[in-house]
Amino acid sequence: MGKARLSELATTIRSKNAGVNQITFDVIFPDRETYRRVVRSQVLTRASVARYFGIPPERISDFVEFDVANAIKFTLYRLRPGGSPGDWDILGCQQYGPLLEIEVD
């Protein structure tokens, strides 16, 4: 099995507000096998996600491998609450873009 991009493996990759001060990311896979492959690859972990967005790991409030939905979910704290002056993504719904390009073994 060659390398694949996350966008080729996941059915849903999204971000959205979770309360006024956090943004949550859902990466959902079509089946158990693909989900396990990505979990095993360790491309999405608390540490890798923090590195990816260039933030300290403390900014990641939750990180869950959600077996029942074949999904990986993580949540990070915003620098300032959503909708504050200077914020351009009030719903937090366009923060997932870079995840599509992550390469998985």
């Binding site: 059915t11 849903t12 959205k16 507000n17 979770a18 309360g19 006024v20 001060n21 956090q22 949550t24 859902d26 959902i28 079509p30 990816y52 967005f53 260039g54 933030i55 409030s61 939750d62 869950v64 959600f66 029942v68 939905a69 074949n70 999904a71 979910k73 949540t75 704290y77 620098l79 300032r80 609450p81 959503g82 909708g83 504050s84 002056p85 200077g86 914020d87 351009w88 993504d89 009030i90 719903l91 366009q94 923060q95 873009g97 870079p98």
Partner: protein, 452 residues
């Protein structure tokens, strides 16, 4: 006689932002559901709606007209939560007024409209503080103190099922709720009818965004949740949508920090042991949620603080040299504004689309790959006059940016219209919980009549 099942219809995730699709709504209504519900608010669009007490949804009246006429025709109770986006007292009154007006226009026979308010007096919160209560922060906020309470423009409390249940007990046919948790207007009638709390709250969670629980992705389509004493079932009414295990389990984690817990006034819904099964071609069956009542009642409060009046200006950059030196151009603008308005209080932001305008500090792509940039200059100050002046000045300084090596000497940015007034700037400054003695304490209920 105890009902064996109850069915709740919902057609929109946010009443008023865009109209519900009429076809799946009609198809759902033809099956005679027990309740029609809708969420009309959220904290998602930001603090300005609560702070300014203004409306986001421009289709609220059309939606209420559709829901009210269809539900009254069949004698089905209608429950709306978080009226007018923020759930402010004015928004509740506005919605009650619309209900009365629509009822009059359509000559709907007399019915009872229940409503409750959810704005919280600052004096109440200060009393709690004085009694030694902790006003604990949510989502990383520090504990709330008196000074921050005073800085809030408006504060609402987030209701549980209790005012809805109370109003149904009082005989309401239509309920217009102030701010409430989005699972509660569905859970309330189910719990009142004797269904298990865990299943009732979980059904509230699963259907609060209507058709977003189904696949493929479609908004504003109708779904119906069916609760029994053992399970809940979710069925979409758009013919091309299905509720699958994947879509429903996937939706169970939507817009929350983690997929396992949902906190609301009165307790916590625990979804760790939930099971999802394909019940039929289009319906997903869910079991296994648990409900843990809280030892102490704590209600969530939300409040917004005004930062200032706001203007926005727009500029574009095409010269590749300036594109590559955009940070220097912005520094030049910032410095110019800082010198000119040295003694004023203001905030100034540059949103650089083509670089990191959407993601800001979270953007991992550092190099600029496009051939042009769009920049929104956002300026705030205490008065509109000053906000306009300094934002416009920042835009002019972009035009006059002094960047070594620029070939063009007629202007370093393309500008367009006049710098435009935007909504005032607000920040969420209250995102906390406060202990209360009675779950109805902050939510006074009222019943009025409408119709002819």
């Amino acid at each position: 006689m105890r009902k064996r099942t109850m069915r709740v219809l919902i057609s929109t995730g946010h009443l008023g932002t865009a109209p519900s699709s009429p076809d799946s709504f009609r198809r759902g209504m033809e099956t005679d559901p027990d309740y029609v519900v809708a969420d009309a608010g959220s904290s998602d669009p930001g603090p300005v709606y609560l702070g300014e007490d203004m409306q986001l949804g421009l289709f609220a009246r059309e939606e209420l007209e559709l829901f009210l006429t269809a539900s009254r025709q069949r004698g089905i109770p209608l429950i709306i939560g978080s009226a007018g986006d923020s759930g402010s007292n004015r928004a509740v009154d506005l919605f009650v007024g619309m209900i009365k007006e629509i009822a009059g226009q359509h000559r709907i026979p007399r019915f009872k409209v229940g409503h409750f308010y959810s704005e919280v007096a600052k004096s109440f919160l200060k009393q709690r503080l004085a009694r030694g209560a902790q006003l604990a922060g949510l989502g990383g906020f520090p504990a709330l103190d008196e000074e921050e309470i005073d800085r809030a423009t408006r504060i609402v409390a987030v209701a549980g099922i209790h005012p809805f249940v109370k109003l149904l007990d009082m005989g309401a046919d239509v309920i217009i709720g102030g701010r409430c948790g989005d699972i509660n207007f569905t859970a309330a009638p189910c719990i009142r009818a004797g269904f298990p709390e865990a299943l009732a709250y979980h059904m509230g969670k699963m259907i609060e965004c209507a058709s977003l629980v189904a696949e493929p992705f479609m908004g504003k389509e109708t779904v119906i949740g069916t609760i029994s004493h053992d399970d809940i079932k979710i069925t979409p009414y758009h013919p091309d949508q299905r509720c699958t295990i994947a879509s429903v389990a996937g939706h169970s984690m939507y817009e929350r920090e983690n997929p396992y817990y949902e906190h609301t006034l009165g307790g916590t819904l625990d979804m760790r042991a939930c099971r999802y099964e394909q019940y039929d071609e289009r319906t997903c069956r869910i079991t296994g949620a648990q409900w843990f009542p809280s030892a102490q009642l704590r209600v969530k409060i939300e409040g917004a603080r005004k930062v200032g009046e706001r203007y926005m200006g727009f500029v574009g950059v095409r010269d590749p040299h300036i594109v590559q030196h955009i940070d220097a151009a912005i520094e030049w603008c910032r410095g110019s504004v800082a010198r000119r308005f040295a003694h004023e209080r203001y905030e100034l932001y540059f949103h650089v689309f083509g670089k990191n305008g959407v993601m800001g500090e979270l953007e991992p792509v550092k190099e600029i790959r496009g051939h042009e940039l769009g920049i929104v200059v956002e300026g705030l100050a205490d008065t509109a006059e000053l906000a306009e002046k300094l934002t416009d000045y920042a835009v002019r300084m972009f035009f006059l940016a002094r960047i070594p090596g620029v070939k063009g000497t007629a202007g370093t940015a393309a500008t367009t219209k006049k710098t435009m007034r935007s909504s005032p700037g607000y920040v969420w400054n209250v995102n906390h919980t406060v202990p209360i003695d009675d779950p109805l304490e902050l939510f006074p209920v009222h019943l009025v009549e409408a119709g002819v």
